[in-house]
Symmetry: C2
């Protein structure tokens, strides 16, 4: 049993979400943003996404995800998603719960696949998690990110066919 | 010698650009849009791009491209671009001129690489052109596009290291 709860995000979560996003962005292992994320970004890109879910233990925000179509129109049958877990809340299954929840939501919404456009090679925890849930590596982008510590690092494109049975349960 | 000219697009080109974009979108081999492209999209996403170039023969718009950063922040050293050539103007070197021009512009602007996120397997002319100019296939997305004739088709991620000498001259 997890000791945290997942629920849809609301406007009341926006302040904590912005703080989490800024904190994770500083690490430079997942988000491309540097010091330029404003509250309006949470409103439009997170709360305004097809789905936006937060994980709380009591009143502490542990992590969050958003998902939606990766492309418009003729590419809109493939979902993409972004996951963030607070530094002090890692290794507790929060990320796995969020990713599973997003997969179930995207499948239930009729998406045929889920694609992550840029997962950094330095983000080994995320890569392991995605692989354990059935994601396949379908692309490799050289020098995709300017990492604050490691310089230009490779990113992978990860892909899950949502019409297959769920893996990693 | 080409019998057409390339120049920066201006607001006066927007009407012809919208017509070209709608026409190419209908084919379903490159753009994801269906019947939903409005004039504001040209203004914001094309004329508002880092660079936006049109190819004319006399007063006839033959093709166009836009380019800019593929990602913000830590991913902003990689450019991406979109190229459109009018159906009746293909096979005349317009696309090759546009792609070469975009490569030179992106390199001169300091981008380290150029990446196309989705080139459809059905768009064989584009794939041949990109390969001849040195682009490598770095990803393969299954069922990326719902093609109006061929159903769900594969797309490739194409990548060019701009720090290498130009190919295909």
């Amino acid at each position: 049993m997890n000791d945290f709860d997942l629920r849809d995000a609301t406007i009341a979560d926006a302040g904590a979400m912005l703080a989490l996003l800024r904190s994770v962005a500083t690490e430079g292992d997942s988000l491309p943003f540097m010091n330029d994320v404003e509250r309006g970004f949470i409103d439009s890109q997170w709360l305004g996404a097809r789905g936006c879910v937060v994980a709380y233990r009591g009143d502490l925000l542990l992590g969050m995800y958003r998902y939606g179509a990766n492309m418009p129109g003729r590419g809109s049958h493939i979902a993409t998603a972004t996951f963030l877990v607070a530094q002090q809340s890692r290794g507790q299954g929060v990320g796995r719960s969020l990713v599973r929840h997003s997969i179930d939501s995207a499948r239930a919404s009729g998406f045929r696949a889920m694609q992550f456009n840029q997962v950094l090679a330095t983000n080994t925890a995320a890569l392991s998690l995605y692989r354990s849930l059935g994601f396949k590596r379908v692309g490799r982008i050289p020098e995709a990110f300017a990492h604050p510590r490691d310089g230009y690092v490779t990113a992978y494109v990860m892909y899950l066919d949502l019409r297959q049975p769920r893996c990693g349960d």
